[in-house]
Amino acid sequence: MSAVLVPGEAVSEIEEVAKTKKVVLGPGLRRTNDSVLACKAGVLCKKAPNMFWIDSYQRRYVPVRGECVLGVVTQKAGDIFRVDIGAHEQACLSYLAFEGATKKNRPDIQLGDLLYARLVVASRDLEPELVCVNSHGKKEKLGVLNDGFVFNCSINLVRKILNKNCPLLQALQREMPFEVAVGMNGRIWIKAKTMRETIAVGNAILATEFVSNDDIRKLCENIGNILFT
């Protein structure tokens, strides 16, 4: 594990790399003149050869372009919907941004519906904008989510369970069938056959917040017994 950084600290490791090649600074790092400073508290992470970022604890979502989020429709205003994605501002979603939608054929969206959508505009100076289709006009996994159960968690937990190395979701799917949609804004939607199973999956996800990947693997070995006893 790399060093712990506190805001204001210069990161000499990156400055060394920057002497010979270009570096990419991710979240939590900023450049002032010739030095690289940390602006968030956390652990310095590196992806070879030249990408750096700080992994810090966060609960509030700050929109990032291209991320998938879970949102609730709060308002229908003419040809756009306003969607609450947990950021500082409501995101907008055009009614044409659904598969097969035309001006005549509007999608059936009601107030309070839960959506899984992708951010196409997310700049600090612009209102975030969502779409429910990919670039080919297909909906794929995006769109309205019916039934199921939603809960909030920290953004770190979302990143953790979406990581390829995290064995949690694979272990859970061996135990029982369920659907899950994980939004990068710290919201998770689960739909299982019974309420009991839904709660079990939810608790299993929340329990991994402060557990390392190795320990998750150990827990997953007898996850069925833990969840249903």
């Binding site: 506190v6 508290a41 509030r60 500082h88 100076d125």
Partner: protein, 220 residues
């Protein structure tokens, strides 16, 4: 920061015991309960959140600081503390990263056994670190008093500070240990002020070291 922050460097500096509980509030974006000796404060941070139109700033995030006293409504002293902490946060936070938003800081006083302002500043700083708010630097508040025998006492408890001639509260940044804010009360001369400043500046390193310890203990 390097070599000047080793344990040996602080062997002659006696601050009251620092204890911190990370994220005691489950629903805020970041919170911290800090106790310095018997003085205790909870600070919580929400943000960046939606901003009221009247407070909206096009270029920067708006800071909204709310100080809650132990009992009753906020008095004039409390409002002045609130304002000082707001100004300190404005210098420390990179507000330009989140224009047209608001960052809300709520401070709840739990127990005042002297050094409350310093404790509140430190608690707010820890809450901002826990909330993942981007900052230029961290800040540390240190309290000291001038006693009748011309002696400067660092971070005294309430019993010691009864007969103090003057109170000093300094806030330092983590970069060059420059003074971000000063609050003084009572009668003193320039030499005594400089003495207090030197002692408090040295002690601030211990608080910055404490922040680092808290962050590294926190599982990510």
């Amino acid at each position: 920061m390097g070599s000047d922050t080793g344990d040996d460097a602080y062997s002659d500096i006696h601050l009251r015991a620092l204890n911190c509980e990370v994220n005691p509030l489950t629903r805020s974006d970041g919170s911290a309960m800090l106790t310095q000796g018997e003085t205790a404060v909870i600070a919580s941070v929400y943000g960046p959140v939606e901003v009221k139109t009247q407070n909206l700033q096009i270029e920067n995030a708006t800071l909204d600081v709310c100080y809650r006293p132990k009992t009753g409504l906020p008095t004039i002293t409390d409002r002045s503390r609130e304002n000082v902490i707001k100004r300190i946060c404005e210098t420390a936070i990179l507000t330009a990263l989140h224009p047209r938003t608001s960052i809300v800081v709520v401070i709840q006083e739990l127990e005042n056994r002297s050094g409350l302002e310093a404790c509140a500043v430190n608690a707010v700083c820890l809450a901002l670190l826990n909330g993942g708010i981007a900052m230029k630097f961290t800040v540390a508040g240190v309290h000291s008093i001038l006693k009748e025998n011309d002696e400067i006492v660092l971070d005294p408890d309430s019993k010691e500070s009864i007969n103090a001639l003057a109170h000093f509260t300094f806030v330092f940044d983590s970069l060059q240990r420059n003074v971000v804010a000063v609050n003084t009360q009572g009668k003193f001369n320039m030499a005594q002020y400089n003495d207090a400043l030197t002692i408090c500046r040295a002690a601030s390193g211990k608080i910055f070291e404490f922040y680092r310890e808290i962050i590294s203990k926190r599982p990510v």
